[in-house]
């Protein structure tokens, strides 16, 4: 029984979500291999070989894998899938894009966003925006899984010494082409991996106010900045900062929600945070039902005061 983790990487380094997936893979009970599929991704493959608990890295390098197109990456996984009992992807935008394609081609069900491995064929996963936790058992030969990063500790990035095996890259499908990418500039900690997150909602009122109020607090705490859907839809913050059922799922040590009412869909993305602080004018706001510490106050006064007091 061997599990294959499909690494998320930028060709130079391994993204942290991969490390959580490795921990989940170990819990299934067998050896753990990692697939690094990319172009000129030797550095990423070398980094994958260092991950503690990984016994082999499979490195597929070719132009078809350059931009992570689902059609090509899925074909690459399928080329070696029959050697494995479990295929695990991080539940990130790219993992979620590719995994179901692989599962369908193998004619197996996919298990999305697992938060716990009960046994090699049984897993826990949240449903209904995290309002219920289902335990599901797979009856398929190969288990195709996406792993919710916040459900598992990260494997140590160093200490391993896996062998790297090169395999041929698949041919390009010719059905899709990469046109371009617009990366949001961000020198803060990555949202899904941050220890502290400060999140702003609609109450900030404008993009200028959002930056003006939230940035000093984030700077002071070395925190990542998040946002509610309302704030993103109103254009106060870019959409990849959205925390919630349909955005990022986070579980930092400290989550500070400023001017966020706390709709079910937002809570789904952050209610596993260790400590939640809510700052809101409306003392009836649902966010106070999950907050460890609630402050009923105008955020335009309270947040700058908080920055000063830290």
């Amino acid at each position: 029984m061997t599990a294959l983790v499909i690494a998320e990487h930028d060709n130079a380094s391994i993204k942290s979500a991969t490390l959580n997936a490795v921990t989940a893979a170990k819990a299934t009970g067998g050896d753990v291999h990692v697939l690094v599929a990319g172009e000129n991704a030797g550095a990423a493959a070398a980094a994958a070989a260092q991950i503690a608990g990984v016994s082999k890295v499979i490195h597929a390098d070719g132009a078809s894998l350059k931009d992570g197109l689902a059609e090509n990456v899925a074909a690459q996984v399928l080329a070696i899938a029959s050697n494995y009992s479990h295929l695990l992807f991080p539940a990130t935008a790219s993992g979620k894009n590719v995994a179901p394609r692989v599962a369908a081609k193998l004619d197996v069900a996919q298990i999305s966003d697992i938060t716990k491995v009960v046994s090699a064929d049984t897993f826990e996963r949240p449903i209904y925006a995290g309002n219920a936790i289902a335990t599901v058992q797979s009856t398929d030969g190969i288990k195709v899984i996406t792993v919710r990063g916040t459900g598992f500790d990260a494997a140590a990035a160093t200490g391993g010494s896996a062998a790297v095996e090169a395999v041929a890259a698949v041919a390009d499908s010719g059905k899709s082409a990469f046109v371009g990418r617009e990366v949001t500039k961000n020198d803060r900690p990555e949202l899904t991996a941050a220890k502290i997150i400060v999140s702003g909602g609609r109450a900030l009122g404008s993009a200028e106010k959002f930056t003006e109020v939230m940035t000093p607090l984030a700077d002071k705490l070395g925190a990542a900045i998040g946002a509610s859907r309302a704030a993103v839809d109103a254009g106060y913050a870019p959409n990849d900062l959205q925390v919630g059922q349909t955005g990022k799922i986070v579980a930092p040590q400290l989550y500070i929600a400023a001017g966020i009412s706390g709709a079910i869909q937002h809570l789904a993305g952050m209610k596993d945070s260790k400590v939640i602080v809510a700052i809101n004018k409306d003392e009836e706001a649902p966010i106070f039902s999950v907050a460890d510490y609630g402050l009923v106050a105008d955020l335009f006064v309270a947040v700058p005061e908080l920055v000063k007091a830290l």
Binding site: A70, N131, I133, S173, R181, D240, Y293
Partner: protein, 249 residues
């Protein structure tokens, strides 16, 4: 070009669901049901493409119990031309739905299939990708912008670090993200008109698809409850609690 839009009937997004006390699932008896919000965005996008003249017909499809007809009527009130219900009382999982849709794609030969990125009940985020794999079509998930030009479709996608743009040859599968569009409200005259539109009912057997679930749900429980929090009177008290009680800063 035809567009196929799969829509799902789900518990309304405003409802806070309750887990059944016997742990077999969530209680959806007597709960308000609606069209999955991402599917509304998919229908809206298909109808807008038709209004722009690049699409000739919009077909809405739903798989499930007889009541899914209401969901299809809603899609037709937004502007879909006709509906197809694949009726079954069996629990349908994404792989089964993808197979049913694949059979309909083979029959209807649409140029685009537009789905929601995920259903808010099972939160799977699989069906579109699975359909693309089974039909051997290219996919663009999490779309926030769709432009059709000839036999190519250009799609801007929401990804973790920002945005990404892909160009796919049609036929292709697209799944919608929240910011693709703002679905229109259905008007009473359109609801009345939708009642007269064609709605075909087929069975999974007619399509030659085995819909037996592959995942067995052993139990469903409520998530762990958070301990009751406290309200603090001012910022100083908050900082004190964070430093000395929670020790997180």
């Amino acid at each position: 070009m035809k567009v196929l839009v799969p829509v799902k009937r789900v518990v309304d997004y405003n409802v806070k669901v309750r887990v059944k006390s016997d742990g077999t699932g969530v209680d959806i008896a007597n709960v308000k049901m609606s069209m999955n919000p991402f599917d509304e965005i998919a229908v809206e996008e298909a109808v807008r493409l038709k209004e722009k003249g690049v699409v000739t017909e919009v077909i809405a499809v739903s798989c499930g119990v007889a009541q899914c007809q209401e969901t299809l009527r809603t899609a037709m009130a937004i502007g879909a031309d006709r509906g197809i219900l694949v009726e079954t009382t069996e629990e349908l999982q994404p792989l089964a739905v993808a197979k049913l849709l694949n059979a309909l794609v083979a029959k209807e030969q649409p140029g685009l299939i537009i789905l929601g990125k995920q259903a808010i009940d099972d939160d799977s985020n699989q069906t579109g990708q699975m359909l693309a794999a089974l039909a051997d079509l290219p996919q663009a998930t999490y779309a926030s912008k769709v432009e059709v030009a000839g036999d190519k479709v250009t799609v801007a996608r929401e990804v973790d670090g920002g945005m990404e743009t892909l160009s796919l040859s049609t036929p292709a599968v697209i799944t919608t993200d929240l910011r693709l569009n703002e679905p229109r409200y259905v008007t009473l005259p359109n609801i009345m008109k939708a009642k007269k539109k064609q709605l075909d009912v087929v069975k999974p057997e007619d399509l030659g698809v085995d819909v037996t679930p592959r995942l067995k749900t052993l139990k469903v429980v409520e998530p762990a409850k958070r301990g009751a929090g406290v309200k603090v009177p001012d910022v100083a008290a908050l900082v004190d609690k964070l430093k000395n009680e929670a020790k997180v800063i």
